[in-house]
């Protein structure tokens, strides 16, 4: 079965993001909503995508089709070594990102991790400054990925957008939204595993 235009990005958005509404597929692919919807319906009629619990998800045939096409894409780009190198650099940053999300949610009070109620703007500022620093250090990794496979270029504006919104006070854009930094980062992690065919 061959995938027609836009089918692979949509399939792969569901592979990396899990069950998603159309709006989330739009964010991940950059397609217009009507385009994304029509591709999703086509994929569903081919048995690759299913609509359950009010969201779109992959069938096992869809997952297999995605794995085959994503491997093909990487092989024809001939950039497996570059993506692997970038993935290794990503793995250095990943635990720090998770620790920062944790620091955002919990802060030690009398040595006891306590829910961060975001009353102390000084503390939040410090965490966000470290987030900005991490994001800056992630920059070269994102560039290397985009150079290896242009579709990775979608992550940079999504991550930058989430951080920008958090910094102007939309605190849910760190870890509490489907477009939050942590959510997009976890999707990128899943994408790297899927692209390189590394099982969890």
């Amino acid at each position: 079965m061959t995938l027609v235009e836009n089918q692979l990005p949509v399939l792969h958005a569901l592979r990396c993001g899990g069950y998603s509404g159309t709006a989330r597929v739009v964010l991940a692919t950059g397609l217009a909503e009507f385009e994304a919807e029509s591709v999703l319906i086509d994929l569903a009629s081919e048995g690759l995508v299913t609509r359950e619990f009010g969201a779109w998800g992959l069938t096992s045939a869809g997952k297999a089709a995605d794995a085959a096409r994503i491997t093909e894409e990487l092989d024809s780009a001939g950039t497996r070594a570059e993506v692997t190198a970038a993935y290794e650099r990503f793995l250095v940053l990943n635990p720090e990102l998770l620790e920062l999300c944790t620091a955002w949610q919990l802060r030690p009070v009398d040595g006891v991790p306590t829910v961060n109620d975001h009353d102390d703007s000084g503390y939040d500022e410090r965490v966000l400054a470290r987030f900005a620093d991490l994001h800056r250090r992630a920059g070269p990794v994102l560039s290397a990925l985009e150079a290896a496979l242009p579709r990775f270029g979608r992550y940079r504006p999504r991550l930058a957008g989430a951080l920008g919104r958090a910094r102007v006070g939309e605190l849910e854009y760190i870890a509490d939204d489907t477009a939050a930094y942590h959510t997009v980062w976890a999707e990128l992690h899943e994408d790297l595993l899927a692209t390189l065919g590394i099982p969890r």
């Binding site: 899990g18 359950e52 969201a55 290794e88 720090e96 919990l106």
Partner: protein, 507 residues
């Protein structure tokens, strides 16, 4: 001077100079407990290294002298015959994220490995130890960000220098800097490095490794708890290659080691006058302690321990009151699984609260089952694919990961109880079952998750809140006795009034 110091019970070196880990080891030595011989490369050497980009002058000589001393003490030779193998560990008592942690079996060059095989008549053991050395050395020294990629030299002295450099350099990784920034730790302290003769937990069937708390760190109950790995080393915990078992399994398998460990816990606890934590390894039935510190406790455990220690006359009631903060009281009021519950296993409590529901092993099952009932999602670890399942579930348990894992971050964001990193939990999503602590549990079975104390229990476990709990109430009665104020106030007010009065009277 002061670049390398002995690990000695007679030492008066400060924790600032030798690091908290070495300081704890010297306490163990003073208590007459078995600690492998070794030495410490000090924080002063670290600061000099970080400032100058290389070891300070005189360091090489001090290191050679310390190695020679260790060789004499053990009757072994680093890189020679009979071979001396050492562990190299960073000096903080609590590991700092991003810092190089441990190299095991350093000194096992090709030649030394052959000598170890000849000496023990066990080449499988010698090669396994060499493999562990190569793996821990590579992960310590191949820092991808600083491009520190170097081959492993077959020269034991050079291996030691590189491992010490790796610990020092890791002080300044961005991840470690971030941790210090957020925890208010000064950037210029530097770290010490502890070098000790190896104890091989992988030596034979009467060897192993583990961690132990003198009292349950989740509940405060006066029962030792922890994990043990048989025939294994600490790196197996990190690699996940072996499943840790509850500490009590040691009692049946190695009764002599068990009773020696209990005695050690008792002595350390009596010295701290607080609940204690130790890391241990035993080789061919012989116990060694590798680290100790005060145990980190949940709110409920901190209160129970303070009350019990006062009742046991290990501390005064005033000391008990000073040990408990209003924050601990808050936490102890959070609902949690009652001590009478049939507790299956424990892990890290990542998001507090209690939830009861049917086990589901996949996101799809969780969503389907949640239409009619409460569901607990059990996964090896979580990924974006599990988001719908996490959203549908009332509680989450995972086999791997810590308080900073994908599952933990998402659970807190959704405000759902979660226990992560449950050692021994196996999720079989093909057959819809989980195995934990030797029990197989089918999808649909009711379990209760306590994300505060990090425990999971079979069935609809009874739940207690602090209000029904005797310990906080007794402590607060003591607080009123001290303050003399019996008016109606909130708990924090009662505790604070007593603490203020005790502090004013000088303790």
């Amino acid at each position: 001077m002061n670049l390398v110091r002995p690990l000695s019970p007679l030492s008066t070196d400060s924790a600032e100079l030798v690091g908290a880990k070495a300081h704890g080891l010297m306490l163990l030595q003073r208590l007459g407990l078995p600690v492998p011989p070794g030495f410490v490369v000090t924080t002063r050497a670290c600061r000099a290294f970080l400032a100058g980009g290389r070891f300070p002058s005189g360091f090489a000589r001090e290191l050679r002298t310390a190695v020679a001393g260790l060789e004499a003490a053990t009757g072994r030779s680093l890189g020679g015959t009979p071979p001396l193998a050492v562990s190299v560990r960073s000096g903080a008592s609590v590991s700092m994220p991003g810092m190089m942690n441990t190299v095991l079996g350093l000194g096992l060059t090709t030649e030394a490995t052959a000598a170890l095989a000849a000496e023990t008549g066990d080449s499988r053991f010698a090669l396994d130890s060499r493999r562990r050395f190569l793996a821990t050395f590579a992960s310590a020294t191949n820092d991808i960000e600083t491009r520190w990629d170097r081959p492993v030299p077959d020269d034991a002295a050079r291996q030691l220098e590189l491992a010490i450099e790796a610990v020092f350099a890791s002080w300044n990784t961005p991840r470690a800097r971030t941790y210090r920034e957020l925890h208010g730790i000064a950037d210029d302290l530097g770290t010490a490095v502890v070098v000790q003769a190896m104890v091989f937990g992988n030596r034979d069937e009467h060897s192993g490794t583990g961690v132990a708390f003198s009292r349950d760190p989740g509940t405060g109950e006066n029962t030792p708890s922890g994990d043990v790995l048989f025939g294994a080393q600490g790196d197996d915990v990190v690699s996940g290659g072996t499943t840790p078992l509850p500490l009590a399994c040691l009692a049946r398998r190695e009764p002599a080691v068990w009773s020696e460990l209990l005695e050690a816990l008792r002595r350390v606890e009596a010295s701290y006058r607080e609940a204690a934590y130790v890391e241990f390894t035993y080789q061919t039935g012989e116990l060694s302690l590798l680290q100790t510190r005060r145990a980190q406790l949940t709110g409920a455990a901190a209160i129970r321990d303070a009350v019990d220690f006062a009742d046991e006359r290990l501390i005064t009631r005033s000391e008990a009151l000073l040990r408990v903060s209003p924050r601990h009281l808050d936490l102890a009021r959070t609902p949690r699984i009652a001590p009478t519950a049939d507790v299956l296993a424990s892990g890290a409590g990542a998001s507090p609260g209690v939830a009861t529901g049917m086990i589901a092993t996949t996101t799809e099952a969780a969503v389907r089952m949640s239409a009619g009932a409460e569901v607990i999602l059990a996964r090896p670890e979580t990924s974006p694919h599990d988001m719908s399942g996490l959203a549908a579930a009332a509680g989450i348990i995972t086999a791997t990961g810590g308080a900073a894992s994908h599952a933990a971050v998402v659970a807190r964001s959704l405000g759902k109880p979660a226990v992560v990193g449950i050692s021994g939990l196996v999720v079989d999503d093909t057959h819809g079952a989980i195995t934990v602590a030797g029990r197989s549990i089918q999808e649909g079975t009711i379990v209760t998750v306590d994300g505060g104390t990090g425990r999971i229990a079979l069935g609809r476990a009874p739940v207690v809140t602090g209000a029904a709990d005797a310990y906080p109430n007794r402590l607060l009665e003591w607080a009123d006795d001290v303050s003399g104020d019996r008016s109606r106030r909130d708990d924090a007010g009662r505790l604070e009034a007593a603490r203020t009065k005790i502090r004013a009277s000088g303790g």
